[in-house]
């Protein structure tokens, strides 16, 4: 019976170390896998006819955009498909064992110990009321591979090898006491504590800052090399795939369109889709979009937006009566028709700085000058007059559009706010739709009927409705797929050429900043650590932190 086979396998699994006792042949062998989701409107295919092999010790990157079926493939391997999903054809063999033929119990044994999973979002993937040591040991206890005391020791060791300092102390802490990167390390420890033959990592670092991302990927690499573990690395980031994978598998529309050794895929992509992905990937591009464009503004003119010594502190218990300084003495100058990139990791104060400059948040100290006028102390009415001239595009196009309104209403909203008639607003909305490259018959649609990229174009159109001099873009492309990202960046550059608008561009992604900015300010812990022209900062960084950031960009070494 299969279940006895599985349980035998299970008892030997932890004892197996290295590759010696492992059966030869691929750790994972997927053939003709087809999965569909049942919906009210009938079955919808998610992946079709997927073939995939992973040898012991091999890292295979599964690359694709959202909706390409890469996560569904990973879930099918781990046995975590939603109940509405159904495998209609194909097979998944794990170390020669047919996973789809296994009973539920036997499958569960394989899933916990034989296949480790590193989930995407470390902030929600740990049980908040259990100590992390217990959560690691739980794997061993559930599958009865160790007794309690022993499991605890193994758990501490697993935490240590996942790169957690003072694992004996940390094991007794709760998830909220750890940073995002630390939590991801805990999840890696959980995934690897049972010494699985296969590790499935589903976007393991997408939620993390670039410097942390690099450390995490390094420790995953070390661990799987040490134990000769096969890894299925699901990622949307070609840079990560280029750095870490032996082979790359490209998926789109539920099918694999191309697979092969990493070097070959990157240097000689055969499928047009792979080529378009490579062209769009900011970190792999040799030239920025900016290099092909005409310079509109110059840095010698007076700045249109000038922030001086901005300070914003939030009250917090136990840090004195000044509270936490989210923004601490930040100054920057944006010149007409140019783009200033504010770059930094989460918590660096870049978004708060931008909101201070827009006076959406009241500063604790410092001044903001717009076109020579101090707007820091303006009354609400006077501010509204100036506000016509600086607009905002937010990060998440799924949240920034009022879900009840039509596209024409959304784009015309700023005009209506400034007292224009509905007819004028509608006419301008249609005009703007054309400007941002959307069909004009979109005007009656609602946000829910649009894709992420289309929504972001709407948000940009809305920001341009009042013909502003400055648009603040707060991570305008980070919620978008890489190809859409490239299109939106191109649109922004084209619009700047056409309209001469100045951008304050906020991003955590240095590669994106490099493509679009004329000048850069690097923020860390609420302070500006380096400013200068994009060229100077990227080729000759002066501050150690800037250098660390630049080195951490995935895929830097490969072009």
């Amino acid at each position: 019976m299969t279940s006895t086979a599985a349980s035998r396998n299970l008892t030997t699994a932890p004892a197996v170390d290295g590759s010696g006792d492992r059966p030869s042949g691929p750790v994972l062998r997927i053939r003709g896998l087809t999965v569909q989701y049942r919906t009210r409107r009938g079955p919808v295919p998610a992946i079709q006819d997927v073939d995939l092999d992973i040898a012991a010790g091999e890292t295979v990157a599964l690359v694709g955009e959202s909706g390409s079926g890469k996560t569904t493939t990973a879930l099918a391997v781990t046995g975590l498909l939603a109940t509405t999903a159904e495998i209609t054809a194909g097979s998944i063999h794990w170390q020669g064992q047919d996973l789809l033929a296994l009973g539920r119990r036997a499958r569960r044994a394989v899933s916990g110990i034989g296949i480790g999973l590193v989930p995407q979002d470390p902030t929600v993937s740990l049980n908040p009321v259990k100590r992390i040591g217990d959560q690691v040991a739980e794997v061993l206890l559930i599958h009865k591979v160790a007794r309690k005391a022993e499991a605890r020791e193994i758990a501490v060791e697993a935490l240590r090898s996942a790169g957690i300092d003072h694992p004996e102390v940390r094991a007794r802490q709760f998830p909220h006491e750890l940073s995002g990167g630390m939590r991801q390390r805990v999840l890696i420890a959980i995934a690897l504590v049972g010494r699985p033959a296969l590790l499935v990592a589903d976007e393991p670092t997408s939620a993390l800052d670039v410097t942390v991302q690099r450390q995490i990927l390094d420790s995953i690499s070390d661990l799987i090399t040490e134990h000769h573990t096969g890894m299925l690395l699901v990622t949307h980031d070609l840079g990560v795939a280029a750095d870490r994978a032996d082979r790359v598998v490209v998926m789109t529309g539920g099918r694999i369109v191309e697979q092969g050794p990493t070097g070959q895929i990157l240097s000689r992509p055969e499928h047009p889709y792979t080529r378009s992905l490579l062209e769009a990937a900011p970190s792999l591009r040799t030239s920025g979009i900016g290099s092909i464009r005409r310079r509109v503004g110059s840095s010698t003119t007076a700045p249109i937006l000038h922030a001086e010594h901005l300070v914003k502190s939030f009250p917090a218990p136990g840090v004195g009566h000044h509270g936490i300084r989210a923004v601490d003495d930040v100054s920057f100058a944006l010149h007409p028709g140019r783009t200033l990139g504010l770059v930094g990791e989460s918590g660096s104060g870049k978004s708060t700085s931008a909101r201070l400059a827009l006076r959406l948040v009241e500063p604790t100290g410092g001044t903001v000058r717009f076109d020579g006028q101090d707007i820091t102390g303006l009354s609400a009415g006077r501010l509204r007059v100036v506000r016509r001239r600086f607009q905002l595009v937010q990060q998440n196009p799924y949240a920034s559009l009022n879900p009840r309104w039509s596209v024409a209403q959304l784009i015309g909203e700023p005009l209506r706010s400034y007292g224009e008639s509905a007819t004028v607003a509608r006419e301008r909305a249609v005009e703007l739709l054309d400007l941002v490259g959307l069909p004009t018959d979109f005007e009656h649609r609602r946000p829910a009927e649009l894709s992420g990229g289309q929504r972001q174009r709407i948000a940009i159109a809305r920001a341009l409705a009042l013909r502003p001099d400055v648009v603040v873009l707060d991570e305008p492309v980070s919620a978008l797929d890489v190809r859409v990202q490239a299109q939106i960046l191109q649109l922004l550059v084209d619009l700047q050429d056409e309209l001469g608008v100045a951008y304050l561009f906020i991003s955590h992604d240095l590669a994106v900043i490099r493509q679009i900015s004329d000048d850069v300010a690097v923020l860390r812990g609420g302070r500006v650590v380096e400013t200068g022209s994009t060229e100077a900062v990227f080729t000759d960084p002066h501050h150690a932190y800037t250098r660390t950031l630049l080195e951490a960009i995935p895929g830097r070494g490969r072009v």
Partner: protein, 313 residues
């Protein structure tokens, strides 16, 4: 009339069942349909899967009809007494039987619908309008106003609703409108709470910030952005409150605070039948059942609307 809005919505909702299909193997009959809109088969499927909801909607439509055009359902005058036909059991001639004065009970229940539903509707309107406004402002302005208002709401919520209405109606005086206001005030607290929590959620949305950055005045943000996006759960609460309001209005009328005899009203009908409980069971049972079914139907409808709202979010 405002009440028809949820009803119409419910009628379309039957096409979009929120229930998950049972997880079975996909049969060929469920092959993907090319048309994007739900077909007749789909609609019928929705009806079959949720008969309770359909029955509730049908019942509520009948009740509303009774309130609007009572003569459509009965041609008998509810006030005409025929002493010879007093205390007759339910039959084809008198569906609900007759009362001690020989008045047709069915006609009285049908004609009472207007008064009962009207007061319940007024009660809900009072609750929802006052409550929503308070909640909207509290959630939007925050600060001291919010704090003070929410403590008052705490106090209101701590007093049993019926007790509060009794106290209020005693102070206000008798009559259906006053009963309605007394009942309505008891639901102000709940409406304010729900509205406030929704406003707190919506005001942090990115599109509110976008409107602010776009130069919208606060009044525009409040009424064009916050209110429409926060109103959903409050409207669901209103349908739920409607059932409770019918019950509360009937209870107060039963106690004699409401409609003045001989005007028929559901609660007072039950009260008048009390004296003949042992000999003429239908006098209390029929109006009582009507109240019960209407309350249940309103509850079922509000549950469906709440579910639909949850899906939409």
């Amino acid at each position: 009339m405002t009440i028809e809005v949820p009803l119409l919505e419910a009628a379309t909702n039957t096409q979009e069942p929120t229930d998950r299909r049972p997880n079975g193997p996909v049969t060929p009959t469920r092959s993907p349909r090319p048309s994007r809109r739900a077909g007749l088969g789909e609609w019928l499927g929705g009806v079959v899967r949720r008969p309770g909801l359909v029955l509730s909607v049908v019942w509520l439509v009948i009740v509303v009809l009774a309130a609007l055009i009572p003569t459509l359902l009965t041609s008998v005058d509810p006030l005409r007494a025929v002493p010879r036909q007093k205390l007759l059991e339910p039959s084809w001639a008198h569906l609900f039987g007759t009362d001690q004065l020989g008045r047709d009970l069915f006609a009285r229940v049908v004609h009472g619908a207007a008064l009962s539903l009207g007061s319940a509707l007024l009660a809900v309107l009072v609750g929802i309008v006052v409550g929503s406004l308070l909640g909207l402002v509290a959630g939007f302005v925050r600060g001291v106003f919010d704090e003070v208002l929410m403590r008052i709401v705490d106090v209101l919520l701590a007093i049993p609703a019926l007790l509060l209405s009794l106290a209020l109606v005693t102070a206000l005086g008798f009559g259906t409108v006053k009963v309605a206001i007394a009942v309505g005030i008891t639901s102000v607290a709940a409406c304010a709470r729900v509205m406030r929590s929704e406003v707190l959620r919506v005001r942090e949305s990115a599109y509110i910030e976008a409107a602010r950055a776009g130069g919208a005045r606060w009044s525009r943000i409040l009424f064009r952005h916050v209110l429409p996006n926060a109103a959903g759960p409050v409207l669901v609460l209103a349908t739920l409150e409607f059932g409770t309001a019918i019950l509360a209005v009937s209870a107060l009328s039963f106690l004699g605070y409401g409609a003045v005899p001989p005007a028929p009203e559901w609660g007072s009908l039950v009260a008048q039948g009390r004296d003949f409980l042992s000999t003429a069971w239908w006098l209390t049972t029929m109006p009582g059942l009507t109240i019960a079914i209407t309350v249940l139907a309103a509850g079922r409808l509000s549950r469906a609307l709440g579910g639909q709202d949850g899906v939409r979010r």
